[in-house]
Structure formats: C-alpha cells, structure tokens
C-alpha cells in the first residue's frame, strides 16, 4: 500500500497538449534569450527592451503551464469513496447512497494526496454516526437509504468541498455540555456562543478522545485530527448541523501549496517570511507607548491587545541571534544591550565611566535624564500576531516589509535538525529568505499550548462580554473623498492594502483587483450610499473585508487609522442604506458603515448575476 502510494507520488499523468505547449514555450524562451544576448552584445537598447518584454510574457505563460501540469482532478480521490461508503454501510446494516459532484475540479497534486485521509475519515463518520439504521429512518419519515452528497466546486480562487448527509445530525447543546464538562469552555463563554459555534466545538483538540462524548454527539471521533490536517494545507473547515436533518461539513482549500501568500518581516540583516494563514495582524507600537503597552508577568513580556493578554516571543532570542539596533544618532549598528523589550537604551555606561575617570569631573555617572528618550520613530517596536490551531502569540521582529506571494522550497538534509523553519524562499533580489514555522517557534519557546489557547479563548470572551457592557469598540477610521469621516468596526477588517490605481482591472463591468491569486471585487461607498465618489489618486487604500467567507475590497481615502472609542451612535439623523448611523469621533462627525448590508447589496447582486 505504502509502496503504491510512493509510486503515485513519484509520477504524474499529464495531457499531451499541455506538454506540447510547454515545448513551444521552451523554444520561445530560447529564441528570446538569443535575441536578448544579441541585443546586449550590440548594445541595442530597443532589441533588449523587446526581448525583455517577450521573456516577461513567456515566463508568466510558462509558469502557468507548469502549474497546470501539477493540477489533478479530484476524481483521483473521489472515485475510491463509492466503495468505502458501500462497504461500510453494508457492514453496519445501513443503507447509504453516495452521490459525487465535481469530479473534474482540479487541485494541486500535493493537496489531492493530502486530503484523501481527512475526507475518508469524514465520510466514514457520515456512515458510522450520521446515517441511522433503515428502520429508524423510516420512523422519522425519511427514505430508508441515507443520502451522502460529496460536492466540489470552485469559488473565489479556492476549491470548496462539501460533505453532506441527511442523518441524525448533532445536538449543539449536548456538545456544549460535554465541552463544559471537560473544562474546555466556561459557562460564560457558552452564553455568547451560537448554535454553529457550539457545533464547531468538536474541532477542539482533545474533544473527541473521551468515549462518552462520541456517544452523545455522534460525530466526534478524530475531528480535531481532521481539522489539524486540513489546517496544515491552509484549508478552512466549517460544520453545520440540524438535528434529524443532517450535517454539512464545508472545506475550503487553496488551489496550490507551492505558492503561498506571506508577510515578509525583517530581523537584523535578514528577512523572514510568515505565511499569511498564520498571521492575524501586525502591530506597530510607537516608541512613546511601549512602556504602557508592553507589560511583564514574571519574566514573560505580554502585550495588552484590545483587552486580551498576548504572550510576546522575541524572535531573535528564539533563533539565538545577536540582536543589533541602529543607533538613531549615528546610524551605525550596535549590539542590542536591552534585556526587556520595554527597557530604554542609554549611552554606553562603561565607556562613559571611563571618560569620567579620565576627566575626573565632579559629576560622575550623570543621573538619567528625566525625559524619556524613546521618542524616535526607529525605536517603535513591531509585533506580528500569529496563530496556529493551538497557539496565539505576538512575535517581536525588527520591521515589517511587503506582503508577497512566495514559492516554498525545501531546506537541505543538513538543516532538518533546525526547528523553527518551514522552508526557504527566494526573494525578488535573488537572496534567500527563510520561512518561519509558527508552531515550532512556539514549541521552541516552550509556550504551553493549552494555557495560551484556553486563556486566550477565555480572555477573548471575557473581553466580548466586557465590551458589551461599556461598549468600547475598536474602529477603523477612514475618509470617503473629501466628505467627512467614516468608520467600520475593526474586527470585521481582514486587511488594509495600499494599491496603485493602475492595478485596478475592469472585468464584467466591475472593478476587480488581483489579490493573493484570486480576484477581489472592489467597491466604494458611493455605489450604495448617497456618499460621493472617492478621490482617486495614483494610490488608493483598500480595506479588505471577509464576510461569510466572501471577500470584498472597499476603496477609501486615507489616512486610515484605528481608534478605540465608546460608541454612542445616533441612529436617526444620518441613517441611510449602508450607513448605520453617526457619532462623534475625535471631534468629527463620523458615519458608521454597515458592512453587512454593504456586502449583501454589492456582492449579493454579483452572485445573482
């Protein structure tokens, strides 16, 4: 079996037409190279330019064609499932029919191989726990044969796989009760949870290990493992269930693993990449606020982030790098001498002591100046908030750079012992940057998984409850054209991007932006409110929202700023479709944008069309 799998992994069936087009492209590439070398040797700028453009075109086509050779139809996996369901239902005296849609949907071969196991597990669960025995089904007025639907389709640059059964479903209250019994959630947390969140509790690590839980909930076995496997692929798993109606599990997968969107960060002289999947947000704490925002519990630095205590790990420390900093005065690099993040830098005390003994003035070791020296922009600290299934922490780095799509390359045999890296990638300038493995970094810093996740969960919910009480909300402020200030709740914002106006494409009468391998629909407030158009300059700020799994970009005018305020909304005076109401922020009237309505009106029409 394993030998069989190994052989499968080693060879690939590729359409001959695709190979032919690859050959043609390779030929074109050689021709263009000849043209380029010729142009260079004759110093003909025009020829070089033309050749450069050709190579540009050919490279993108070549890249696309090669990616296509890796794409395999899901049929490779799906075709085996018919038998699995048949065998299993026979052995359990159940009747189940599997219908498969979307056999032809293609995914990268590494993903195809990796999803086989989790999908098999989920299907077995359907038959095992979901579908009832025929006599019970008849009592419930259902056909005696259970129907299992397996569906795959493309959506928004991702592949969706849905597994649906019409079995007995899951009882959210029973799941919640057993999660409470195991101490995974607290009662106050449960109060704030909806049905869907309660059902999704079965994904919590350790949830399904106890036998009684599987008996109560029906479909618990190994769900955390399934989710962990899919998470590793960058997939998103969601589960919906209605008692006696059935269960639907929806999985979203990226098309390929080879290219992943990443945030590039800098540390010392090096650059590192953090996969976007692991990245929650980026925080820059201005020099003057470092002291208040970074606190210490025992020896551990923590950051208070919207009411949640977030452990901070010092990347340099974990990797064992001698930290350097740029002296703001001279610009030269000096080794870092601060021990605590919030410590201040002072001039070298030892050298000053020497000076003092030489000159022997009365003022030995001058008292520290009262003025806080941490006012320079360079002294701001940068924290990338990252999370994996079980961990969530802040990673202290030197600076943030671009968000890039990177090609993952494996590290050599001699570096397999180095934890903390998931691979390497090559940056635009040809240098190598290492990709950080967020989970093993946490392990290296011996961050205890259970503690951080539980306390985070706890604090997050505590925070939610608190915010319900005093209504202090984080808002993102922006402007719409020259007309006044607008705001959206910060927790709905996925990302803020600054794009060049020239990058906006028009497709099907709508504006879209190529964004992380997909198309991001771009809209502005003027399209569904009475607000005027935004002023378009060379660059536009785009706020990216993700609502119900769909992404939308809202074009706005800067400056974009985040504030934390107590909301006292006037829901009458300025209310209109897309605008919830108004309030005063920073002594300016601010319109509160109703993102949900906005998405519904703008994207809803897109779906209908």
């Amino acid at each position: 079996m394993s030998e069989d799998q190994a052989r499968q992994a080693g060879s690939l069936r590729v359409n001959v037409h695709l190979l032919d087009s690859l050959m043609t492209l390779a030929g074109e590439l050689v021709l263009s190279r000849n043209q380029l070398t010729q142009g260079i040797s004759t110093s003909n700028a025009r020829t070089v330019e033309v050749a450069g453009q050709r190579i540009d075109l050919i490279t993108s086509e070549l890249q696309e064609a090669i990616m296509r050779t890796r794409m395999q139809p899901l049929a490779n996996v799906f075709d085996k499932f018919g038998r699995i369901v048949r065998d299993l239902s026979l052995s359990q005296d159940k009747k189940a029919e599997l219908s498969i849609h979307g056999n032809e949907v293609e995914l990268d071969k590494t993903i195809i191989e990796a999803i086989q196991e989790p999908l098999t597990h989920l299907l077995r669960n359907c038959v095992d726990h979901g579908i009832e025995k025929p006599e019970i089904r008849l009592q419930k007025n259902k056909p005696d044969a259970g129907a299992i639907k397996l569906k795959a389709f493309h959506e928004a640059g991702q592949v969706n796989i849905e597994i649906e059964d019409d079995g007995k479903g899951m009882d959210p209250e029973a799941i919640a009760a057993s999660a409470l019994g195991k101490g995974m959630v607290s009662e106050t947390e449960l109060l704030t949870m909806g049905t869907r969140e309660k059902i999704n509790l079965i994904f919590l690590p350790g949830f399904s290990t106890a036998q009684q839980v599987t008996d109560v909930s029906g479909q618990g076995a190994g769900m955390d493992v399934v989710k962990a496997n899919l998470d590793r692929l960058g997939g998103i798993t969601d589960i919906e269930s209605v008692i006696d109606k059935g269960t639907r599990i929806r999985i979203k997968l990226p098309l390929t693993l080879a290219i992943i969107p990443s945030q590039i960060i800098s540390l010392g002289r090096e650059r590192y990449a953090i996969p976007q999947v692991n990245l929650d947000e980026l925080i820059r704490i201005p020099a003057a606020q470092v002291k208040e925002r970074i606190e210490r519990v025992g020896n551990a630095p923590v950051l208070r982030l919207r009411g949640v205590l977030l452990p901070i790990l010092n990347l340099a420390e974990i990797l064992g790098i001698l930290r350097t900093y740029k002296d703001p005065a001279t610009g030269e690099e000096k080794p870092e001498r601060r021990i605590n993040i919030a410590d201040r830098r002072s001039p070298d005390l030892s050298s000053r002591a020497e000076e003092n003994t030489k000159t022997d003035t009365s003022e030995k070791l001058q008292p520290r100046k009262n003025k806080d020296r941490r006012y320079r922009a360079e002294s701001a600290i940068h924290i990338a908030v990252v999370s994996t299934g079980t961990f969530r922490y802040g990673l202290l780095v030197d600076g943030f750079m671009d968000s890039e799509e990177i090609v993952v390359k494996p590290l050599g045999r001699h570096l397999t012992g180095c934890k903390g890296y998931a691979g390497a990638t090559i940056m635009g300038d040809g240098r190598v940057a290492l990709i950080l493995d967020v989970a093993s970094l946490a392990a290296m810093a011996s961050l205890s998984a259970a503690d951080t996740s539980a306390s985070h969960l706890h604090q997050a919910h505590g925070d939610k409850i608190k915010s319900l009480k005093d209504d202090k909300t984080a808002l993102l402020l922006f402007r719409n054209g020259e007309q006044g200030q607008c705001a959206v709740p910060l927790d709905l914002v996925e990302r803020i991007e600054r794009i060049r106006a020239a990058d906006i494409e028009y497709a099907g009468g709508r504006r879209v932006l190529q964004y992380r391998g997909g198309s991001l629909p771009l809209h502005e407030l003027g399209e569904c409110t009475s607000l005027g158009p935004i002023s378009v300059n060379e660059e536009v700020d785009v706020i990216v929202f993700r609502i119900d799994g769909r992404e939308m970009g809202l074009m706005v005018n800067g400056p974009v700023d985040a504030v934390e305020v107590t909301i006292e909304m006037d829901q009458r005076t300025l209310k209109q479709p897309g605008i919830m109401g108004s309030m005063i922020v920073n002594s300016r009237t601010t319109l509160m944008v109703d993102i949900f309505t906005l998405v519904r009106t703008l994207l809803g029409s897109a779906v209908d069309a």
Partner: protein, 140 residues
C-alpha cells in the same frame, strides 16, 4: 590499464591544508554568492544560497574539518547522491591528474575527528594533496 586508474583532482586550500576531491563530483565553482545565515544550525553550516532557484546548504569546510573558518572563500557546488551542497573553501588551485594506485592511505597520526574526513593522500613532485571523503563530510 593506465586510463581507468587516472583520477582528476580539483584542489583547493582549506586553511593551510591542500585538499582535493574528484572533479566529477564538482558541478561548479561560484565566487560571490550571498549567503543567508540559518540561525540554530550546526556551527559549520554557513547558511543557504540561491543557486538558480534551488536552495543549497553551504558548509564552511574549515569549521567542518575542525579548523579555523576559511577566508576569502568561494563556493564549490558538489553533487552527492541526489542533493547538491555548497562547500566554502579557500583559494582554488589547479587540477591535478592522479594515478589512483599511487594514492596512499592517510597517515596514522592524522586521526580523530579530522582523520575521518580524509580518505587518502596523493603526493605530487612538490605538494601533498589530502583527498577529502565527501561521503563522511556530507553526512549529517
């Protein structure tokens, strides 16, 4: 008789030692490649480089042999089994044709950690070339 036993040795300095490896193991020699350090690796792993889209581990031969780190270095790209690696060495010398029958075993007083990296010694008219055992060197 003579032809198959002839060996072409690429020679280079690691510190004071003149070393040689079979030229067929060498894919290329690079001069100025920027090395990205990998923190947390063995001390003789200098880092990784980008060789036309492939990530190669580079090791400092000086440190690997238990000597001082090499100076004014260049990278020998060697292929071993199905992996390629970069070896950071000092000055590159000429290619020496050696008769494999005349390769002597390493001197017995060269033992310990250093000794196991050499598989033999070849003497030319003027110099002594220490033959590196790639297999041991590239072992983890």
């Amino acid at each position: 008789m003579a032809a198959p036993s002839l060996l072409e040795l690429a020679t280079f300095y690691v510190g004071e030692t003149l070393c040689g490896i079979d030229i067929l193991n060498i894919q290329e020699i690079n001069n100025h490649t920027e090395i990205t350090p990998v923190h947390g690796s063995d001390n003789w792993v200098k880092g990784v480089i980008n060789l036309r889209g492939r990530i190669l581990t580079v090791m400092d031969m000086g440190l690997r042999l238990g000597l001082l780190p090499v100076k004014d270095s260049r990278t020998l790209v060697v292929g071993y089994e199905d992996e390629h690696l970069g070896l950071l060495v000092g000055e590159i010398e000429e290619v020496v044709i050696a008769d494999s029958l005349k390769i002597e075993p390493p001197p017995p007083n060269l033992n310990g950690a250093q000794g196991r990296f050499f598989k033999g010694v070849f003497k030319t008219d003027t110099k002594l070339i220490a033959l590196l055992d790639l297999k041991t060197i590239l072992e983890t």
